[in-house]
Amino acid sequence: MLMNHFWFLDHAWLIPLIPAISYAVILLFGKRYGERAAWIGLASIGSAWVLALGTVVQWISHVNDSEGAEARGVVQSIGGMVRNIRLAAESKLHVEPIIHSTTWFQNNGFKLNVGIQIDGLAVMMLFVVTTISLLVHFYSTEYLKGDRRFNHYYAALSLFSASMLFLVVASSTLQLLAGWELVGLCSFMLIGHWWEEKPNSNAALKAFLTTRTGDIGLLTGVIMTFFVVQKYATMAGGKGTGSFDIMKVNEAAIGLGEHGGSKSLLFWCAAALLLAIMGKSGQFPLHTWLPDAMAGPTPVSALIHAATMVVAGVYLGARVYPIFYQGFHIAGGTINPMAAIGGATVIIGAGLAFVQNDIKKVLAYSTISQLGYMVMALGVGAWTAAIFHLFTHAFFKANLFLGAGSVSHSGANHSFDMKHDMGGLRKYMPKTFITFMIGTAALIGIPFTAGFFSKDEILAVAGENNFTFFKYLGLVGAVMTACYMTRCVYLTFFGEYRGGHADAHGAGHDVGHDVGHDTHAYVSDDHATPIHDDHAAHAAHDLHDAHDDHGHHGPHESNFPILAPLFFLSFMSIASGYLLSPMLKIEKFALWVEPHFGDDKHFNVFEPGVFKAIDPILAVAAGVVGMLLAYAFYWKKAYGENITERNGALRAGKNFLVNKYYLDVLYTDIIVGGVKGPIAQAAYWVNQNVIDNVLRYTGKGAAGAAQFVYKYIDQKGVDGVYNGSASGAGALGGLARKLQTGRVQLYAFTVLFGLGAIALLLVIFN
Amino acid sequence: MSHLLAFDIPGGWGTTLGIKTLIVMGLIPVGALVLGYTFLLKMMSHMQSRVGPMDPGGFHGWFQLIGDGIKFIQKEDIIPAGADKRVFKMAPAIVVMSTFLMFVVLPAGPNAVVAGALHKGQGGIDVGIFYALAVSSLSVIGVLMAGWASSNKYALIGALRAAAQLIAYELPLVLAVVGVVVQAGTMNLQGIVFAQQQGKIFGWSGIGSPFILTQFVGFALFMVAAQAELTQPPFDMPVAESELVAGYMVEYTGFRFLFFFIGEFGTAFVYAGLAATLFLGGWSIPHVNGEIANWIGPIVLFVKIMLVAFLMFWARFSYPRLREDQLQALAWKWLIPISLINILVTGALKVAF
């Protein structure tokens, strides 16, 4: 064998390295090559993708080899590559990760190791990240053609991929932290790619600052993991030394949990890390940055939502899962913070998706909701299901985002406003329509698409683990998902085309699409800050417009660089589901990605769910109900036009959602607005008649008493005391002021002489 | 006889110290004169077609240097009226002293180190090259003293320029040497020589391992920085005749000026010696060891010094003067980053191999 079995696995560090080099090259030499710089990025991510594919193939064959007992000899003969393959109880087998680490520095017995840790989880992530990133790179060659910072865009894209891949292969929590921060930085750069417009830079800042809030949690959590290891080592006897190695952290967490050591440390560690996940993965209440992040270019949104930024949080949760499992007592089947946050996010995100007019925002809130599913799945002990959902979601959400980009780019004059600039597009762009429908089907969970399998898995395992509440919460979420996605598809692809004539629109939103750039949809959507005079910014877009003059000739189908990723992702949106399905007796995915956390006997949460016919039926029923509701409501207008305007209750509900649960304006709007109306009237009457009278008479009595107090007690007694002490303080201050000579050297003398005197006293009395 | 060459002088420490002091005090001016004669007078005259220095004494103007010396010594020793007399008088001595102190650690053979008695058997003091660089920084004080005590604006500006320049270029100088020290694993100059003599290049020990092959970046940095430390063209703003009429030396005459002259060329001699030792293998020839090395060591070293000095003076007579800001920019923006990268790479390779 020329190249041994593990070449790709052993050299996984090349995968983040190549895009990182590409970043430097594009940044340093990009100007020289103009738009050809894109090919540097494309080539780098392409080679990373090939390497990732190699790791996938080798890992799968490795796992398959390890399954058969006769193959053990071969594996073991490889020697130092794999430490050893242990057969756990009931012949359940976890393949040990491949770890190559080197000591970066050591201090006093503590070693800081850096290196790579490759296991099924990491391999899966490598595949997802490189795949999505490759498609996004390719897509962007067309989508961002003529952009003013084309090179910087590709440089940032490369660094983004590199840092996410670095985070994935990290073997220590400190490396993870570094990758995490780099990912945050890159998302900041990319969200604010068109920073000349104020809303964009605001969105970038908001994303950065909000996730930074969560990062505090990560920093705290990472520091605490060190002490988790130390505690466990001390418990085992001897001088405990902490460590940041992920393997050791996991082992220690399991050990501490099983042996009853320091539960509170584990709990707070888990809580801190959960805060990090909340920030990064857009969990309620830190989700507000995610929809604003739509200000970035659409391919970036796809990358952020499918493969890199937000997924990092879920990946962290999966990576150090034992900490959560033990810290939150997930085995107990009671409500725990992680599941609660995830469940709340499912409903809240889905609810907000109803009222968005911006197609990207619908998808953004949908992402929040789906991330909620993942976190909830982690919280209810459905590790495999969570990761599987991450896997399938990456493909169909990237598909949807890139589809939305295609719609906007070629069909809606660079606007994202569904209500005003889209509609009826299925006739104009049939290919985009088909891919978008496949993505939607997967998201809703139409049977035999990827989303169906993965969402079903989460619900089934939640039920199995006695988290019945969360199971039904998930079903409600599924209904809502079906509903808002049907609405979204209806508004975009069905009905009559509403775009194309700028003067036909209301004044409120024409700012948005006349500009000819997608970011402005963000502005028009809020109706809050219409910017009318940013023509300077338009000028900067002229390059784009010049290339893009077809935008004025009506909607049409996109061309190859945009469609090719869509087709591939559509295929994956269906195919990726067939890796794990208890229904079809496929458990490959669970087998391949299940990680090794160091203690198989006590820690085994990776079993896929047991198939029960009722689960998929419920899920499908939820989807159908949701679709029917939306069909009736939006399509057929069963309740007539504009029911939300006519019916008070529905209007209130809609407004509630439009205002994003009033989170942004919680205090002003609820307190000030709620008191208006009948409550205020009644209060006013009570105020005028009851309270005022009481007060009036009380006041008169009080005034009399006050006169007396004022004349005799206050003026003479109390004031005398205060005046006296004030003038005394003044006099003292005047004395003390003399000490403030402003002469530094006199101060120095005082300090040094005093110090000397104290030293003398110490010497005398010692 | 080889005792004497090896500086292993019989007698008490007093005698040894005295003789060694005499040797150093003799060698430095001789070295300075050799460099001055060979390069300043002859080489420059040939390069720049000057006839004056080729004339006195007949054959190739052999008498020129001696005549200059006599002229300096017999001149009146003038101290400006407004000068700070003590400081003014002390300044040239400090400059020359720094040169003398540097020379002490330069090994000329397996046993021939002037400062060898401190740790016998180790050959020279432990921190050899570091010591040399440390005492070389003393000359800045002398220059500042000279410039300030002269009570002359040109002198003061020259001294300030010199101080800024010497401080700026001391960093790349030291950092360039760090690469060699890392590779040799010792700061002892004798150890560095042995590391080069007995080293191997890819397993081949034919020419030893002169560090100029592996530390060529360091060598280039060292030569540039040394040129600046010597305030020679193209870095001669402190003494620029056309702007500052010789800078901090402007008020000095007679033998005090001669001191500065000796200091300048003596320091060039020592820097060339250090460069030869650090990068060219010093006194050593690969595979030549034992008693014979004591004999040919000084000769080999001298040849290498002349080689390096030739490079220095070649540059000196070829390039025009830089501007003050260009000089600082060169040091801070180019030499120091490059030398830091050089250290980084050297360290990484040292760990890797």
Binding site: R737, L739, Q740, G742, V744, Q745, F749 | -
Partner: protein
């Protein structure tokens, strides 16, 4: 050699430094007096290191030296600022805080 002879020398230098810090009328000279005190500290550390026959004293002296260098850098920058604003390097002139 007695340990004490080094310690006493350092005590003397330290005292001199204190005198200088309090009395000098030029900010640079105040800094120079601080350097005197730091040298005294270094002598102490190195003397103790030599007594214990290890290199720890030297290492600490090195740290002190480094910090002294940083202190001089920042200190001289401050002096330059004071001089630029007040046209004087006398610490007594920088008496804005006078009560």
């Amino acid at each position: 050699m007695l340990l004490n002879q080094f310690l006493l020398l350092s005590a003397f230098l330290f005292g001199t430094g204190i005198y200088g810090v309090i009395t000098r009328k030029h900010t640079v000279l105040v800094l120079a007096s601080v350097e005197l005190m730091l040298v005294a500290v270094n002598i102490n550390m190195v003397a103790f290191g030599a007594t214990l026959n290890n290199a720890v004293g030297q290492v600490f002296a090195l740290f002190v030296l480094t910090i002294a260098a940083a202190e001089v850098g920042v200190g001289l920058a401050i002096v330059l600022l004071i001089y630029r604003n007040l046209r004087s390097a006398n610490p007594d002139d920088a008496s804005v805080l006078k009560g």
